[in-house]
Structure formats: C-alpha cells, structure tokens
C-alpha cells in the first residue's frame, strides 16, 4: 500500500503506463517520470506534481506493466501523503476527494446531488448553466435523491476510521527515506 511495497524498484522506464493512461493529457509528469523522480529522491517535484490526482484508477497500466508494478497503489499512496502534508498542486481534485469523503463520515454513504452540486458550485460555476437541463432531468426522474441516507452504524464507522488513522500514523513510513537495497533478512 505504500510505494516501498509496490515493486517500484523494478521499473524499467518503458513508458507503457504513460502511453496507456487515459488522463495522461492533464498530468504534468507521466507516471514513469514520477517513478524516476521518486528514485532520484526529488521529493519536491513529486509532491508538487498533479499526476497522482489525475489517476482515474482504470488499471490499464497495472495489467500492462511488464514489471507488474502496482501503479494505482503508488498513486493512492502519493495522494494520501500529499493530503497528510496538506501539500497539493491544485485544489480541484483534492477538494472533490474531500467533499466525497466528508459525506461518508457524516452519513456512511455518498450523496451524489450534494457532491456534484457542491463541487461544481465551487470549481465550475461557469459550466453549471450548460448542465441544468441534465441536472433537472436527473432530479425529477428520481435519479438523484434530495436527502442523503444515513446508516445506523455511522458512529461505529467513524470509530473504526479514527482507529485506522491512529494505526496508520504509528506505522508511517517515509516515501523518500532509504528503502531496502535488497531482500535482506538480517
């Protein structure tokens, strides 16, 4: 789940990942370049890159990678690291994640109307007019509920997530600190 476990060392810089990536156009570095930067210890460049945030988790790179590197997992780990350090290249993608996750904390489920509305109000106000026909269609056709559903166990869920945070902090391992040079067991 963290890059040190993702076989990142095995990367041969072939570019299959970048070539396969559907959201490549928006990335400031290709995934391959990110791996090279991590290996070069270029921490700032990696942390300031928007690449992980543009990953759509389609797993094309993962099944094509000739070295079977867990690329989406690396991207997740980089995002989590950036979130933790509050260091994000642009706020659009992280905000979307945060809005999404906030709904989960509050209700235990996601809530599409609120999510899309909130997100678009904040970041794409100008696009909203073009979408109202679709949006109204969604609502009146019963495709978007107006009220989110709250699960009964929401308190328990939050307790679980809080505990997970504590464990994660206790186990925190660095991205850029020395990684094992070989499979040594001593």
């Amino acid at each position: 789940m963290i890059p040190a476990d993702s076989r990142l060392e095995a990367c041969i810089q072939c570019g299959t990942c970048g070539g396969s990536c559907p959201s490549y156009a928006d990335m400031d570095h290709t995934p391959r370049q990110i791996f090279a930067l991590i290996r070069a210890g270029a921490r700032d460049k990696v942390m300031d890159s928007n690449t992980p945030w543009m990953c759509v988790s389609c797993y094309l790179c993962a099944v094509r990678c000739p070295q079977q590197i867990h690329i989406p997992d690396v991207m997740y780990a980089l995002k989590a690291k950036a979130t933790q350090e509050r260091r994000v290249p642009s706020h659009v993608a992280p905000d979307f994640s945060k809005t999404f996750v906030d709904y989960i904390h509050k209700y235990g489920r996601s809530f599409e109307v609120g999510l899309v509305a909130k997100h678009y109000l904040r970041h794409y106000v100008t696009r909203l007019p073009g979408m109202t026909t679709s949006g109204i269609g969604m609502v009146t056709k019963g495709r978007m509920g107006f009220r989110p559903h709250q699960i009964r166990g929401v308190a328990g869920l939050n307790a679980i997530l809080d505990r997970a945070s504590e464990i994660e902090q206790a186990k925190q391992r660095g991205l850029f600190e020395e990684r094992p040079q070989s499979g040594g067991t001593h």
């Binding site: 476990d5 993702s6 079977q68 067991t185």
Partner: protein, 174 residues
C-alpha cells in the same frame, strides 16, 4: 496481480525470554534444489542462517530415519527440497518423494510431533530467489512453533542432545 506484502523479521521471544532461533536440517537433491541454493549464493541472495543442508542425489533418497535422527540430534525442523515434479532429473522420483513426505507428515503427527516440522518445497536450478524466500518462510514458521519438545528428543535419542542448563526454563523477572 498480487498485493504488496511486507515481511517482518522480528523474532518471537522464546520460552526462556531469549529470541528463539530454530535449527533446521535441509535436504536437497543434487540437480535442482542444491543448484538453487548455489544460485542463491552466486546471486548473493540473503536468507536466514538457521538452515544446514545435506545433498542427496534425489529427494526420493530420503529415509524416515534421517528425519528422526535430525530431531533427535537437535533439529527443530527438517526440509525436503527437490525438483519440480515435471522437471525431475530422475523423471518421476520427485513425485515419489512427495508421496513419502505426505506419509511421513502423518506419521510425525501420530508421534506427537507437529507436522509443520517437516516441510517440502520445490526449487529449480534457476530459482535461487525462491529457495531463499522459502527458507525465510519456513524459518519464520518454525520460529513461531518454538523448539521441539524435549521429551520427544529424549524419546528419539535416549538422552537430550544438549543437556545445557540453559535449555531448562529459567525464571525471568517479569
């Protein structure tokens, strides 16, 4: 796809409060698994020191007495390694070794010895990494099992091998 796995090598405390380091006797065949061990060496692949190897021509050479002698003389586990059944130098003898292994595991459990103290894995001459990984896995497993019961050792050999006082449980201040 496989999930990333982290291996931890923290020794489990043994019964006397010291980290328990098992002693393991490994048998290899001359053609595949011994050469896998050689390859682990040439490739400088590290693995735990706990294993000591004996070369046979074929893992099918394994006699039950070798295992019992091993346990009697201080081994905590015995490994029978050999060729992959389809790659066996002696055509099908690796399969016979497997049959004998399964039989011996049953016998051990009848004798009151944990079957996990007898292990088997395959490694071709090209699988040095696999050889090292399997040794590491087995050492961790046997470490968790703890030392073989002294009574069993006595029963097999007539007297304990290392009658050192430290082998007795020592009161350790909590």
């Amino acid at each position: 796809m496989t999930a990333p796995v982290t291996t931890t090598q923290t020794p489990t405390p043994g019964p006397v409060g010291e980290p328990f380091e098992p002693l393991i006797l490994g048998f290899t065949c001359n053609w595949c698994s011994y050469r896998a061990a050689d390859l682990a060496g040439t490739a400088r692949t590290k693995y735990p020191h706990n294993v000591r190897l004996i070369r046979l021509m074929c893992s099918g050479r394994m006699e039950p007495e070798f295992i019992l002698e091993g346990f009697a003389k201080g081994a905590d586990a015995v490994i029978m390694t050999g060729c992959w059944p389809e790659d066996c130098h002696y055509r099908i003898q690796s399969v016979k070794a497997l049959r004998r292994f399964l039989f011996l595991r049953r016998t051990l459990s009848d004798l009151g010895i944990e079957p996990a103290r007898l292990q088997r894995f395959y490694a071709s001459a090209a699988e040095g990494q696999r050889f090292a990984d399997e040794i590491a896995r087995i050492v961790a497993e046997v470490r968790a099992l703890g030392p073989i019961q002294p009574e069993i050792r006595v029963a097999l050999d007539g007297h304990p091998v290392a009658p050192a006082p430290a082998a007795e449980p020592v009161e350790v201040e909590a």
